[in-house]
Symmetry: C2
């Protein structure tokens, strides 16, 4: 469908040429020059197909903790179905009963999620949790509160699973405000319970609110409804909060385009970029939320598609990439489900600013805080292991310049979809 729906440039000169300044004419001619470098789409597509084929064969070979002989030393949670989580809760309660009968009293065995128990595994390129746990006894002043909260959270989660519904952390908190006192307390114990039972928070049916959207060459079911993301207009489909109700992913895309911001997403959706270059376009509108991270991983794993990222050229853009790729530290026990390894940094990269002659006035000076964030990133393992990224980041810190994706609009509103991205794809210019 929808070749009809690709908005193509008119033969008329680009938008910016209505301006009469010399500077903007120079910019235009540069933009036109780059436009001329573009090969026919079928040649670009052939190159993309190669990347796709690589991804299809490569990603079947995922390294796991057991490959590294770490499966006993480290702890990871997995997605589990309702019945199996219910059994796990019953098991945990039986263990407590046995402990009481054996005269050792009411006590839970809870894995430690402290920073000292976290480990970055380079081969996996993500943070995992070491297998250290502590006893949470009822008959102990320092743990009685947490033991009570743990019992209550287990019972609430059990009730949620029995009804086969999904709730938010906030809902859970309100079920016993008097006991929990503060949502941070029920939240923390919820993470403990997730570790204890060895299942993801989604498996507990406690979900985060979603803010991501998806559009493009993807068909999937959301709670039984078949969603065709090529027919979601410009607004796209809201990514469901309940990943376990998502199924039957199908796609003829060659890659996934991960976009940091919704403005760029809208440009791509309106221009139906996915009809010219078959892809799935996804954004979390800024800082990635859990639902979008789960959804991205699900797509990458099931469809075996390469993922290309389009983020701002600043430390924050790279930080967002790191959350998608390596996870956040406080959810390291769930890193295998939440992270998507091997995302390629397509742009906007610091080296693009000169390469694409982004005008000086569209670049922004980095603040001291930006510079510090950039230098901190250079110390991160996930950056260090990619030479290309190190070079780019060093250039950013040295030039002290940053730029948003939107800066490309200075060459015309559709420059992103008509020149920049096609040229990037043609040149396989990702790191």
């Amino acid at each position: 469908m929808s070749e009809r729906k690709r908005r193509r440039p008119e033969a008329a000169p680009p938008a910016a040429s209505t301006s009469a300044t010399k500077k903007s004419r120079r910019q235009d001619s540069h933009a036109q020059g780059l436009r001329k470098q573009l090969k026919p789409d079928d040649q670009i597509l052939a190159s993309l197909r190669q990347m796709y084929d690589d991804a299809q064969s490569a990603s079947s070979n995922v390294i796991s903790l057991s490959d590294l002989n770490l499966s006993t030393a480290c702890r990871e949670v997995t997605d589990r179905d309702v019945g199996s989580v219910q059994l796990a809760i019953e098991g945990a309660v039986l263990a407590v009963a046995r402990s009481i009968l054996a005269g050792r009293g009411f006590s839970f065995d809870v894995p430690s999620r402290a920073a000292t128990n976290q480990l970055y595994v380079p081969q996996l390129d993500r943070i995992v949790l070491r297998d250290k746990s502590s006893s949470r006894a009822f008959a102990n002043l320092s743990t009685v509160r947490k033991a009570t909260i743990t019992a209550r959270v287990l019972s609430l989660v059990y009730a949620v699973l029995r009804r086969d519904i999904h709730v938010t952390k906030r809902d859970l908190f309100y079920n016993d405000v008097k006991l929990f006192q503060d949502q941070s307390q029920s939240d923390a114990v919820l993470d403990d319970v997730s570790c204890m039972l060895g299942c993801t928070r989604s498996s507990l049916h406690v979900v985060a609110s979603e803010k991501g959207v998806v559009v493009g060459r993807l068909v999937f079911t959301d709670d039984g409804d078949r969603i065709d993301c090529t027919k979601m207009g410009i607004g796209g489909k809201a990514i469901p909060p309940n990943i376990d109700r998502v199924g039957n992913l199908e796609s003829d895309a060659l890659f996934i385009l991960l976009v940091e911001k919704d403005a760029a997403f809208m440009r791509l959706a309106e221009d139906r970029f996915y009809n010219r270059f078959p892809c799935i376009i996804v954004t979390a509108k800024g800082q990635p939320d859990v639902a979008t991270r789960l959804f991205l991983r699900r797509m990458k794993t099931e469809l075996k598609l390469p993922v290309l990222a389009l983020v701002d050229s600043d430390p924050y853009g790279l930080k967002i990439l790191s959350v998608y790729m390596c996870g956040s530290k406080n959810m390291s026990y769930d890193s295998s489900n939440l992270t998507t390894p091997d995302i390629k940094w397509l742009g906007v990269r610091p080296s693009d600013l000169d390469k694409y002659k982004v005008p000086e006035q569209c670049r922004l000076p980095m603040t001291e805080q930006d510079i510090k964030a950039g230098k901190d990133l250079l110390e991160e393992d996930f950056v260090k292991r990619n030479e290309g990224w190190v070079r780019e980041l060093e250039m950013m810190v040295k030039t002290r310049q940053k730029a948003e994706i939107q800066a490309l609009s200075s060459f015309g509103f559709q420059y992103l979809t008509e020149v920049y991205l096609p040229l990037k794809l043609q040149q396989r210019d990702w790191l």
Copy 2:
């Protein structure tokens, strides 16, 4: 479709009863008592149908500025198509040319958007802009910058319309950073241009990013794609940023349920509340964005449906209602397109807290700032004209208690969809 998809309560006792405290047993029995008050759904539906019929007949009678003999004294913008906006821009440029030829120099006539030029019209229940304008001359040191920016924005908007695409304010800014210097400057002039041309910002094809979602008994087209919102799973459909590409709204809903927060939205979507009580459920996930406001108004106007609002019981919840109903002050020139009059406050209302026996520990004390916000609201015209709202707000300020929608979860996770809302609808308990 989808009766199969309504998640109904089990015969088993509700979730909270697994807890053993006396207090929660008392709460349960109260919740059960309210549940028993529920009449069969067909009786509730009959009552809803009456409200629906009222809305269908009533809203055909919309008061306009001309009814109040204010059409010359006040200025409002309307949605206009691409061709007509292009003509308006050409007209504005010709007016400048004529001014030059007449020896009066290069100058725009720009409506004032200052607070002193704003007027609250009680009959309309919204803020409008008086018709006062000033001259923005090129040959005047105090206006030369703004005149130049105005010319540039007009030319950029013209280019956008010629290509029939949509862009964001940020895109617009990046087209001439050197001139605009700061996005607030291009944004302000964009609003001026909107007023000058007498068309909405959407008509200029400059859109805001969307964050709202919709689910339920609504079918519409988004850029030509047919969207059936009963088949959007739990995630719902993202509300499109470009309202002018939305069309062909159809619905068999009896009302629109406007929800403040996404957690409540998720509960309603997962329980397929719209299958039990035919409705369209919409949320902007907090502070309403322009796209959601436009979409709500469009639904209300075209489908003539009553709108019921479910917000937190705090001043902020009511503030959100006010933005939907009366608009925000800085976009008063566009109030007729952005506002949805006659939204009913369904809940959660301060009086509900006692009526539904929301446990003390689920209520939150109001801060001094909350109290001040509540008192300020009592001075607002849009509150004063609704006695019921005044009483509720006075009660809130007096009891110094607030509560979130989520507080209803203390009676069980599905209490909102199974008891609270059905009972509210049955009792026609809205203000």
